[in-house]
């Protein structure tokens, strides 16, 4: 708990992180209250005239209409639900898998640990978008299938991160001492090792949310989204197939920027978290980059002499 308070203390002093939190809160608010915010129900059948197709924005339809005469703003608002649900659940599952694999491989090591890491390396080498395309097109389209495929492919970075952190933590004094006192493996992992790794896992999981959202939108754009739901990626697929030649910008710009909005907010938060919890990203207190810059245009007479010591 102490550690979380520390992290939060540093976190809220970072302007980019705060911007990210605000942006994400807006998106979550829109997703939760979609039925009250959306002017129309996008899943309702509408009777339309021919001129309603791809009609440009007007006071009744603030973002115009799509190729089926539906209100783009309402589709956009409901789409937030899909992106966020996919992002959060897929990243939660991949965090879970990655942490389990990483802890097992790092703490127990041995043959099982080696095998797990080889498998992780293997998954990292396989190009993920083609693999997802192949699996979804053979298995069939569906929201939960997409979530499952993303979580089964995106845990590898977490696993590596956790493993390397566990390897160094388990040799530290307090863990060795606990072990000497006869603490069981379970107690050791849960009480001593996991708390040291959790901040790193969370930072990585946050970044995974944005990766999952982008993966879902790419799959939907390539025509493999859930056919019963309209996600932002699928809107872009329809817009690209049917509306780009008519330059119906109100149809393809909003969903695209909505994806960027959500994933950027998450990246801003994740980056700030990573900078705080990853000790390797801190610089030496004696090294001030601004001093280095001001040193570079040194006047001729003050040019530092060649160093006597040549260390290499």
């Amino acid at each position: 708990m102490q550690r979380f308070k520390q992290v939060w203390g540093v976190f809220r002093k970072k302007p980019m992180a705060i911007v990210g939190v605000v942006m994400l809160s807006i998106a979550v608010f829109v997703a939760v209250f979609a039925p009250w915010l959306a002017p129309y129900d996008p899943y309702e059948r509408v009777e339309i005239e021919i001129e309603d197709i791809l009609a440009p924005p007007d006071p009744e339809h603030l973002l115009g209409r799509d190729d089926a005469g539906k209100d783009v703003l309402s589709l956009l608002i409901y789409g937030a639900r899909i992106s966020l649900v996919v992002g959060f659940t897929a990243s939660f599952f991949s965090m879970f898998i990655g942490t389990t694999v990483g802890l097992t491989a790092g703490y127990f090591g041995g043959r099982i640990g080696n095998g797990l890491m080889r498998f992780t390396d293997f998954l990292m080498v396989i190009p993920d978008l083609p693999l997802m395309l192949v699996i979804i097109s053979v298995w069939g389209r569906g929201l939960w299938k997409i979530v499952l495929v993303i979580s089964l492919l995106y845990w590898t970075y977490t696993a590596r991160l956790v493993r390397s952190q566990v390897l160094s933590t388990k040799e530290r004094q307090f863990v060795l001492r606990a072990r000497a006192l006869g603490a069981s493996n379970w107690r050791n992992i849960l009480r001593h090792i996991l708390p040291m790794v959790v901040p790193l896992i969370i930072a990585q999981a946050v970044l995974d949310i944005s990766a999952s959202i982008i993966a879902e939108s790419s799959l939907s754009f390539l025509g493999l989204g859930d056919p019963t739901l309209v996600s932002w990626g699928m809107m872009l697929n329809f817009a690209f197939e049917r509306a780009i030649s008519r330059m119906a910008w109100w149809f393809f710009l909003p969903p695209g920027f909505a994806i960027v909005w959500v994933s950027l907010s998450i990246i801003l938060i994740g980056n700030a978290l990573e900078e705080i919890v990853n000790p390797r990203l801190k610089t030496h207190h004696l090294f001030d980059p601004r001093r280095m810059v001001s040193l570079s245009p040194t006047p001729k007479e003050q040019q530092p002499t060649e160093p006597v010591l040549e260390t290499n």
Partner: protein, 337 residues
């Protein structure tokens, strides 16, 4: 670590990965609920002879993996006369099956299109590496300045953007000024010589730009944090303390040491690179492997899907191996004997 041990380990891993990919590719298309081959075979629109021919072609009359009956009889060669061995045998001969939609050999389709993807991705990748490293260095050098914040924000913004959407935006911006689709203006033929190739070059600009900017943003972020990390090392402080100029500190100490992680990162992001190529080729109708894969998905053309996936996976595995070998040459910690 001895260099030869390192090489053997890396080559062994690449080979094992390849085997797993082939086995996976075989089983995925046969075991999942929507088994495509069986679906075709049971299509009522086919004549009995056609069905039998396809069955024999895919070896569907044989067991899938191992013939247990033959094995118990002690008939070892017979036990391995299965669908899987037939698949591997065909694969080794370069036979990837026939496309459902165009009735052409899949390997022929792949061979025809591969170079287009290689040109596009190669160009985008090289430019991205150059720009990514340069911008990352500058950002890390001026860490905390307004320039750094600007580069960082631009990097994060493009990182948050799906590849296909960035392509669409470029189409909107450059429509009418640059070609936004296809590989060449209809009517021009390779016999037209220079004019043809100039036209292809023009069609390459936007897809390459999309890939370059998106990959470069990824590399610049990693390069920046890698350089920042190196700058916190004691030897940089030493270099500074002994009076080296900023430029020499960066060139001789920071750059070299941050380049090694970059090679690993570039190798690791190659899979992502391939995913980007599928999206860019789709958006710009660039007739390469990625576009072929997109079309195969639309038409449920399973042999083509299987073939493109295999080709993409094999290329990424090979590129990774190459990066590992390069690492062995560049990193002095991997000893040359």
């Amino acid at each position: 670590m001895q260099r030869s041990d390192y090489l053997i380990r890396k080559i062994g891993f690449a080979f094992a990965t390849l085997v797993v990919v082939i086995v996976f590719n075989f089983f995925l298309f046969r075991i999942l609920p929507g088994d495509p081959v069986r679906m075709i075979v049971h299509s009522p629109r086919m004549t009995r002879e056609a069905q039998e021919k396809i069955e024999a072609n895919f070896g569907l009359d044989k067991p899938v993996w191992i013939d247990k009956e033959a094995l118990t009889r002690g008939d070892i060669p017979g036990a391995f006369d299965t669908q899987f061995t037939a698949y591997v045998r065909n694969l080794l001969r370069g036979d990837l099956g026939i496309s459902f939609s165009t009735r052409r050999d899949v390997s022929e389709l792949l061979a025809e299109r591969a170079w287009r993807t290689v040109v596009l991705v190669g160009l985008g990748e090289v430019l991205a590496i150059v720009f990514g490293i340069l911008l990352g260095l500058i950002a890390a050098w001026r860490r905390g300045s307004r320039l750094d914040t600007g580069i960082l924000l631009a990097g994060l913004f493009t990182w948050a953007m799906p590849t296909f959407f960035f392509g669409i935006i470029l189409i909107i911006i450059f429509r009418g000024r640059l070609p936004v689709g296809g590989m060449v203006t209809p009517g021009l033929k390779p016999e037209d010589g220079l004019e043809y190739w100039l036209d292809v070059g023009k069609h390459l600009i936007l897809p390459t730009m999309t890939l370059t900017i998106l990959y470069a943003s990824e590399y610049l972020l990693i390069m920046r944090s890698s350089v920042v990390e190196v700058l916190s090392e004691d030897y940089i402080l030493t270099a500074k303390a002994k009076g080296l100029s900023t430029i020499r500190t960066f060139r001789d100490h920071a750059l070299k040491n941050s380049m090694l992680p970059m090679i690993t990162v570039i190798a690791l992001t190659l899979g992502y690179t391939v995913g980007g190529a599928i999206q860019v080729e789709t958006v710009f109708s660039w007739p390469g492997i990625g576009r072929l894969m997109y079309e195969a998905v639309q038409k449920r053309d399973y042999p083509v899907l299987q073939g493109t996936f295999l080709l993409l996976a094999v290329s990424v595995i090979a590129a990774n191996l190459l990066a590992d070998l390069l690492y062995a040459v560049l990193d002095p910690r991997v000893k040359p004997e």
